[in-house]
Structure formats: C-alpha cells, structure tokens
C-alpha cells in the first residue's frame, strides 16, 4: 500500500473532524476522540493541528474553498444571472445531500460558535473563497442590468438564508419532499427577488 502523504493525511483529519463536529457539536467533540476515529495517536494529531480551534478554523476554510471552486465554475459560464442562480441552487443542494456534514458544520459550528473563530477568522476571512464568488456573481449581475443594485448583505442574506433554511428544514425532517423537488421554485423566487426593479 502506498504511503499516505502528509497532505492526504491532513485532508483525512479535516474530513473526520468535520463529520464529528457537525454530528456532536464543537464542544462535545474532543481531540482524543478525533484521533481515535482516525486510528492515530493524539500526539500525532497535534502535530497536524496545534489545537481544536485551529482544526475548526481549517475546516471552515476547507469547506469554503470547496464550495467556492464549485461556484467559480458556474461564474465562469457565459450564461444569464437567472441561469446561474439555478445552478447555484443545484450545487448547494447537491452538496447538502452528498456531504450534509459540510452544511451542518457551517450552520451548527461556524455560525453558532463564533467565539471559537475569533482569532484569525475575523469577519469573513475564513469563508472568503466562497463569499468572493457570490460577490462576483452579484456584481456582474448588477453590471449587466440583470440584478437590482442594493447593499451586498441584503442580497447575500436573502440568498444564503433561504438555502440554509431549506437545508435546515430538510435536516429536521420537516420537508415533505426531497430538496431537488424545490430547485425550480426556489431558483425562481431568488431570481424574482434579486432582479425586481433591475435596470435591464
């Protein structure tokens, strides 16, 4: 068996911790538990991440970059803002279903335990890869006259709050249908809301 590289090992740790944190919460998960799950010594785990907080921070950067790279592919397409919105929704729900722990982590760990991310994750630094793509999407939509100009956060909140809310409802078992069932309507709602009154 090929020797696992340090980089691969690091990613393995991130994915394992991500799963545990999103299932049990940040405070209820300990470093020894994570090490045990990985079959490595606690000492060795600390060689990779010097604290639980540092690990938590790396996870949010990792998920933001993963999501960001998916969104960037969509941003680079030569299609309308309306079509992009639909693709965004699809990608977000796809990740929510294939890797629900990522969305869970964002909602239950990152947003709920801000004190953990105080040092080194000020503002939106740790999620900038993802937020940057949203900004570019908004900016280009307004520039082309397809979206209405408004404050970034009012648009960002509408977009992310809506998608996050749907994933939350799904996670709570409240949604009668699968997420895919809602893609068309949600995309259309978001598009209506963001484009209403646009110049184009």
């Amino acid at each position: 068996m090929a020797r696992v590289s340090k980089e691969e090992r690091r990613e393995e740790i991130i994915n394992t911790a991500l799963r545990l944190f999103s299932k049990k919460g940040f405070y209820n998960t300990t470093m020894p538990e994570i090490a045990k799950e990985l079959g490595m010594s606690v000492g060795n785990l600390y060689n990779y991440f010097h604290s639980k907080e540092a690990l938590a921070k790396e996870i949010i950067i990792y998920t933001s970059e993963l999501l960001g790279s998916e969104l960037r592919k969509i941003n680079d397409l030569d299609i309308s803002s309306k079509e992009k919105i639909k693709k965004f929704v699809e990608v977000y729900f796809k990740i929510a279903q294939e890797r629900p722990e990522m969305i869970e982590y964002f909602l239950r760990v990152y947003l709920s335990n801000r004190e953990v991310f105080k040092e080194g994750c000020e503002g939106m630094i740790c999620i900038s890869a993802f937020v940057t793509e949203i900004m570019i999407f908004f900016e280009e939509g307004v520039r082309k006259g397809e979206l209405r100009d408004q404050d970034f956060f009012s648009a960002f909140g509408l977009f992310m709050g809506y998608l996050g809310g749907m994933v939350f409802l799904k996670g709570e078992g409240i949604l009668p249908n699968g997420l895919d069932y809602y893609i068309d309507d949600i995309s259309e709602n978001i598009h209506y809301a963001l484009s209403y009154g646009a110049k184009g």
Binding site: G123, M124, T132, M135, I136, F138, D149, F152, A155
Partner: protein, 304 residues
Amino acid sequence: MHSPTAQKAKIIWLQGVTCNGNTHSFLNYEGFERFFQRYDLLYHPLFDTELGINDLSKFEENFDFLILEGAVTGNEEFKRGKTSFAKLFEKLAKKARYILAAGSCASYGGVFKEYDPENITGIVFDKESKRGIFKEYENKTVNIPGCPLHPEWLITVLDMLSIGKMPHLDEYLRPKELYAYLAHDGCIRNEYFEWKIDVKDFGYKEGCLYYEHGCRGPMTHASCNKILWNSVSSKTMAGMPCIGCTEPDFPKTELFETKKYMSIPAELPFGIPKRAYLTVTGITKAFKIDRLEKRLIDDSKRDN
C-alpha cells in the same frame, strides 16, 4: 539636439480651445528664471514675447518645441489673430521638431470637446481613439495630460528631449516616466486604503476616498503624489478625491461618489483582477484597528 552649451531651444506656445489653466500652472514653476536661461520663448499669448500672434503666420524658421495648450478644432471660424487656428497649427507643426500637448484638452479633447464633439479633438487622439485632427504628427508628439498639467511634468519632458532622451511613451503617448505611476501611488491615505477604511466624510485628514467618495487615484495614471502640486500638496493629500484628469476619458460624470454594484466598486484599482481584489479585501473590514479608527490628532470638539 542641444548640448547644455548650445544655443537656447526655441519654443512657441500656441493656444487652441482653452481656459489658460496650463499657462497659469506653468507660471507656478519654481525654476522660472533658470528655465528662461535654457529656453527661448518666441511666442506665448500671455507674455510680452518677441513675436505677436500675427507674426506667427509669417514665421518660416524651424524651431524646437511647439507647445499646444487647449484642444484643436477643425472649425475654420476659430481664429488666432487673423489666421484660422487649424491652419496656423499645421504650419507651425511642420516646422517644429517636437509637439508637446500641454494638458488634457490638447492631448485628448478634454472638457471643451463636449460642446462641439464633431470638430474638437486632441492633436493625435480623440478621447481614447487615435482619431485626432492632426494624427499625422503622431511621431513627433508627446502628450502631457492633466487638467491642468503640472509644470514640472512639462519642463521635465522639455529637458529630457533637450538632452536627447526620448521619454518612453505609453499607448496614449504619455511619458511613462511620469504616467506609469498612479495618482494613488504615494498618497498619504494609502494605509487607510489597504485596510479598507474610508474617510468618515469630506473634511477629514483620516481615511481613504476611494470606497465611498469617488476617488479615481487607483485608476489614474499620474505622478500627483510623487511630484507635489505647487510643491506642497495634492488633491488627495488635502482631502479632495482624484477626478482622473490625466486619462483620455476625462471628464467623467458623477464625481465625488463611488459607483458600486451591490456594494462592490464598479471600477477596481488599475490592473487588479476582480477575484484577486475581492479575495484579498473581503466585503467588510475584517479587522477593527483602533489606531486607524481614531483621529490622528485628538480633539474633543469634532468627535461628537
């Protein structure tokens, strides 16, 4: 070219469609007396020079520099003395070794182009395109835009050419030695720019003017903060946003406010890709830095 000991270089300063602002800026040059030891100003419309305006149409000698202040116009009714401006310019342009476009009007058309866009252009350029009325003189023309130009920019170019150093010109015929810089470079507000702290409002020495107040410093090629104005200041140093007066598209409209699309500046610092800019700066101030939030000189009266 002239060696320092050779006879003085001869200059004719002609005006097209102008406000005389470049002449008055030229009059702010601190080495004026020495300047006239190096140069012979044969004609200038404001000074009591050897030649008068009507001597120019009879002037047959070759000379070194034709400095044009003001836009050119093809309108034959626009006269200088008894001759149409266009004819006079053409006549002198042929005799001149170099043509210097002094200011944005002579370079690109400037403010006055807007009244008569059909007839008024710069010498070689018409705004950004090379469609000026006298574009055939491109090879001997150097543009020194600015509204007005800085006297040292003009005299630096004259001095360079006089010692045989041709400036490196950019795509708009501006000397790179002066215009490769941005007005932003050297701005005393740069630390506030880096940390995304906009000025609280006009009238404060602290804060950047780019994010909210329409400053075009990061998009404008000029050495305003390298070679200070009137030797003491610059617009951004004093507190006024850069208005981009050295660019071919001057004057733009809706100055003094930053055009934004969903809170993101419509125009980003020159040559910086959007993704790179947004990644580095983020949408919001990530850090709250007390030193930069505070007034530089505390005084109780103004903070309430």
